[in-house]
Amino acid sequence: MNLSTSSSDSQAWGRWLATFLCMAALGACMIFALVILVDPYDSGRFGFIGIKGISDESPRTANASRGRDPQFSAAVFGNSTGQLLKPTELSQATGLRFVQLTIPGTGPREQIVLLRWFVRHHARADALVIVTDPVWCIDDPALPIFNPFPFWLYSDSPIEYLGQLFSSRALGRLVRRVELGLGLRTPSAPDGYWNYELLGHGEFRPAPPPNEPADTAAVAETQFPAIEQLAGFIANVPNVPVVLVMPPMIASDLPRPGSSGAARLAACKGALARLVAGRPHSNFLDFRVDDPLTRDRKNFLDPVHYRAPVARRMEQRIAESLRVGNAGPTTF
């Protein structure tokens, strides 16, 4: 390719370069202006045109909006094992206003981020219900995550958030939000409830865990770094009632009594119970037990995802705990 030019051509090529740079800069500025005006994830940081409602369907990102919604004062946290707890049922039973902030496929690290987000946006939170399934019992202090999670969305830094808005995913959310504002899109459920029973018919085969004998010395030394982090968090919100919920699983898959799995689970439950011991209107509810409800396979979609009758019973126990603390029942 011949790259030589005359001096008049050079000026024209200079203008060409200036046009390229100006259009690129203009395009970038327009995108930034749009995302600042619309706030695609409704995180409350920008969004000056004030579109109301949730246009997002993924709880990973939609919970940024739900978690700061002032119409709710209490929330359920956890992963899919807490998803069937119905905010309307909990609200009716407690008189509080509950929102579902569970996110499937998350662990302690992500859920603590959500807890902080909710508390940061609610000067007076009335209750926190945390479904602490056994992912909270891990001993890895790094608290590994198993699925991608948008930590930047829940970050303290608006700059970090802004940096992530220059992406096609964010622009996709922006379009949906504009559609919502124009009435072209139905908003997602504001309370975040979604019934996973709609997904399938629940054919599954129980898989009992290995029956290794317990090493009591090793279990006694086990650390639960996720629970330690949770302890740090709830110590900072001393006046908020906290109910920790160990969700049920099909009884046939529970660790055998005397096995290392059972010993470890018991130690984890003990650590969770100690977190809320003596705290007003707070309790640790242990549903991971052998019970007529958990023995019946009809009550489960798969070994860890229970069906509505179990969820309704759990909601009753949660409501009682918020009323009377650990003076009430601690299981089904």
Binding site: S4, G14, F20, M23, A24, G27, A28, S168, R169
Partner: protein, 460 residues
Amino acid sequence: MLFNDYAFLLVFLPASLVIYRFADPHPQWRIGVLVILSFVFYSYWNPLFIILLALSITVNWLAARGYLATKRGGFITGSIVANLAVLGFFKYANFVSDNLAYLFERPLWHFNIALPLGISFFTFHHIMYLVDLRRGKAPDYSLGRYALYISFFPQSIAGPLARWSEVMHQFGRQAYAPGWQRQFAVGVTFIVIGLIEKTWLADPLGRLLDPIYAQAIHGPVTNGNSWPALGFAFQVLFDFAGYCDVAIGVGLLFGVQLPYNFNAPLRSTNLQDFWQRWHITLMTFLRDYVFIPLSNVKIGRKRYRLVQHFSAMLLTMALCGLWHGASWTFVLWGALHGCALVIVSLWRRYGPRLPALLGWALTAIFVLLTCVIFRAGSMEAAMNIYRGLVELPDLERTLRSVPIIIAALCAFLLPASQDIVAGLTERPKTAIAAVLGLAAVAILVELGDRDAYEFVYFQF
């Protein structure tokens, strides 16, 4: 740092341009500044590997000086052997060990080594210079200029495999000489076109094809899913051609015109033509430094020269396969192309002339089918893909394959990207600049999702 990374596009490249703008008026600074920038670029992956790069440059340069001072060929031979040994250790030690272990039916050594990025490319750069020095074709160069030849960041990781004679004289030239604006405009256009090839053509194919090839590793590929797998040829074309176009564009921003590496190869009407248009710089290297010496060395009688010629062709292509990766599937892929090249040569010599359209179709089908072996990772996986071709995809799968159809149309119908760039920059039309500016923003937005694919050729 990838060329399709914010770290490169928004930080390293602009910062390098600003720094070089200050160095450009001072001839004595130009090469030194570019060497430092290149080392910074290289160290981004693993700072320790810059020791290997610096050592490699120094040792080879000293060997060249030793040869020039004494005229003893041992300097050159020793240096080339050392280069190949280092490359062999990093790239093929475990391959050799695994195969010996298989032969002797007992486990042998296994090195936990990471392949230094671009080692294949800088090894070949050394060899080109040293061989030509010995042939009396290459002159003596200062350490700084030689260091830049090996490390020049637009081409150090994955090419184009520029020859010393193509770039040495350009290093140290004033980038902001009169008329630099046109050169910059061409450079910018190459970068945008390259990123379009990578982001809008190659990456969507990667997202479609990766699950299919992953499935092929574990078992049969059913429901006509094997058909999209043939699209890997388009993915690797636009991935690597895109990379090379960005490299060429970045080179121009620093006053260096790198050689073109692709020339619309999937429009070739025979396989010889294809290999003259695909990864051109590697193929000319293999032709000049492997095939021609092997073909010309006097072994056996004159009447066997044709056999020697074709054997050299086959061996060169098998080595080309092995260069791409330490695996028998790569060797098989290269050998198949070698065999096909022999057949094409014989056909062209003795057979009837094929209609261009038939030649094109046969070439394209052969390339698409053999690319499955290149990508699959094992013969079992490749066979799973081939067996799956007996089932045709349904309408839904065909519709999901739209990115493959678009890429195929671009590969079969569009001219080479350098011709597209030449067309776009023939005259300074501001409308084109505006569209390219907006395209650049759109690409940056696409790259903002942070799950951009690495360039396929980085693994080689």
